[in-house]
Symmetry: C2
Subunit: 329 residues, 2 copies
């Protein structure tokens, strides 16, 4: 295992310490690393809280700040955070207007967020993100997995919360954005969880995993490595089939690197996805490109298409100031 | 070679097409991919132009926009752009107040930028960046190499140009920031240039290259993989020795991923570098962390320390709106 680390047991603690030091103007790290919280809390605002296993950086802690999350709870690598982390975060950042949990659909996350929600003595709702169209049910999931589309949900709902939307409206908005968002990924190499010390899966030098999950879990099928155009056709085709978009539809195209794939290739995939979308008469009116929802150093990418409406695009465009997404301020 | 590409010969063209589509609000791609230019040019402003081999994305085209570069010339992967690219860029974005070229110190880049400067019928100056303290002279360089510190030079000088500084002042500022900036990197794996199809260098499963260049060229020495703390001590130690900083000095700490190293490890390196800097009495007052000056999918990172003065920090903080760096607007 070749990584820039010290003791395997200290990876998360040391990385979070560096993260908190680098972004001290935006956020603070709670004792015992329970959660990362926005430094300047806004009273009377619905508190948005997400979290999940680490190893997907900058998701979720990188999205804590103005216009996005109020807190994020980091579990160990690829492991759900515990209910007391979410409960502690909610008690720390809840501002009296209720708490909205945004949860990727994995069994461990679902169970632990639900326990926290039940223990919490504040009004709360949960938005479940399940944008991955690759497979129904999988290694860690009943139903579809939540993947890169989570960023879109957190950004749009975060902007609405910042503007003062109430809990019921935010829950409805989050569900609507999730429904309008679909993703699918491909892996060219495995990742290695530090505590495991060996690759999560084996893959041939000429193979790719189509529909891979963000923990390296299996997707639709293992096939010979295809061209960027073939991969874009498969991923984007599955997404368009799921969203049932009509020609003329306007979308956000989010090409997401999994951690080991450089921008040179990610932008090439943007170009490839554009061709597929143009062929279907879909207009790309917003872009996001980068390694935002990762699987450690796995090579590969995912494509996310989000068919937002005008009000939701305006929320996408609204100011955001977090470690990983920043514009308009 | 496992990459998200189509034909090897089309990698740069297709990637730039995706890049230009994704950031059409900020920039435009010139015919024949001569250069990427800022969409809204400001008359009467000194034009800032950089460029170099591709494969280091988001450097340089990702830094074209308000508060940074007016144009960037992309060469083929790890290959200098040609003089006519820089000449074409200067003629397109020069606004009558002169042109400042910002050039990383590699022999090919130096020669081709110099030829462009001689052919250009506008007043011009060149800032040469040579922040890499690892080695004097190397595979592609006479003198020290220009690496991640180039970003700092482009950001600070770009902000000053935006505020209306004249050519002589910008040349002096660029030289001063370069002198105040030092970097050193480490590679854990090689990268693979698409046109070559095989790794640039061989490295053992338990080895690292200390002082590696951003094309995978050799550095100080090949040694057994060390811990993050040991690596940070070596890199940061060499940087501090070069800069001769006194206790109490205030610096920007820029931990830069080379393309294949995830944020989890990059932030762990921030924490490790902090310990070394704190031990030397150096105060980190600004941070930048991410994969900004890359070597395709090479695993590893570099550390850059920039001992800016108060006016230069203010320029670092000034608004910027590019594909890869964006704040304050």
């Amino acid at each position: 295992m070749k990584k820039l680390i010290n003791d395997v047991d200290d990876v998360l603690a040391e990385s979070l310490a560096g993260f908190a030091a680098a972004h001290a103007d935006i956020l603070r790290l709670a004792p015992e690393r329970q959660f990362v919280a926005r430094r300047e809390l806004k009273r009377g605002k619905v508190a948005l809280i997400s979290g999940g296993g680490s190893g997907h950086e900058p998701l979720h802690a990188g999205f804590v700040g103005h216009g996005m999350l109020d807190a994020a709870c980091p579990g160990q690598v690829f492991t759900s955070p515990t209910p007391d982390q979410m409960l502690g975060a909610a008690q720390a950042v809840g501002g009296g207007a209720g708490v909205l949990f945004i949860v990727k659909n994995y069994s461990g996350d679902m169970m632990n967020f639900q326990m926290a929600a039940e223990m919490l003595d504040q009004e709360n709702e949960t938005v479940i993100v399940n944008d991955d169209v690759a497979v129904e049910n999988s290694t860690y999931t009943t139903g579809r997995r939540g993947v890169a589309g989570t960023l879109v949900v957190e950004k749009v709902v975060g902007a609405a919360a910042e503007r003062g939307a109430d809990l019921a409206a935010l829950k409805a908005l989050g569900d609507a954005v999730n429904k309008a968002t679909a993703s699918m990924g491909v892996a060219l190499t495995s990742c290695t969880v530090p505590a495991a010390g060996s690759p999560t899966f084996q893959i041939g030098a000429d193979e790719m995993e189509l529909g891979v999950g963000i923990h390296g879990e299996p997707g639709r099928r293992r096939v010979k490595l295809g061209s960027a155009d073939e991969i874009a056709a498969e991923l984007t085709g599955a997404i368009l089939k799921d969203l049932s978009l009509k020609p003329g539809a306007e979308v956000l195209l989010f090409v997401n690197g999994f951690g080991g794939t450089p921008l040179l290739e990610q932008y090439l995939m943007v170009n490839a996805a554009h061709k597929v979308l143009a062929g279907a008469g879909i207009k790309v009116v917003r872009h996001l490109t980068g390694s935002y929802v990762t699987s450690l150093e796995m090579a590969g990418c995912s494509i996310t298409v989000s068919a937002l409406d005008a009000a939701q695009f305006a929320l996408w465009d609204a100011p955001v100031h977090t470690a990983a997404l920043r514009w308009g301020m």
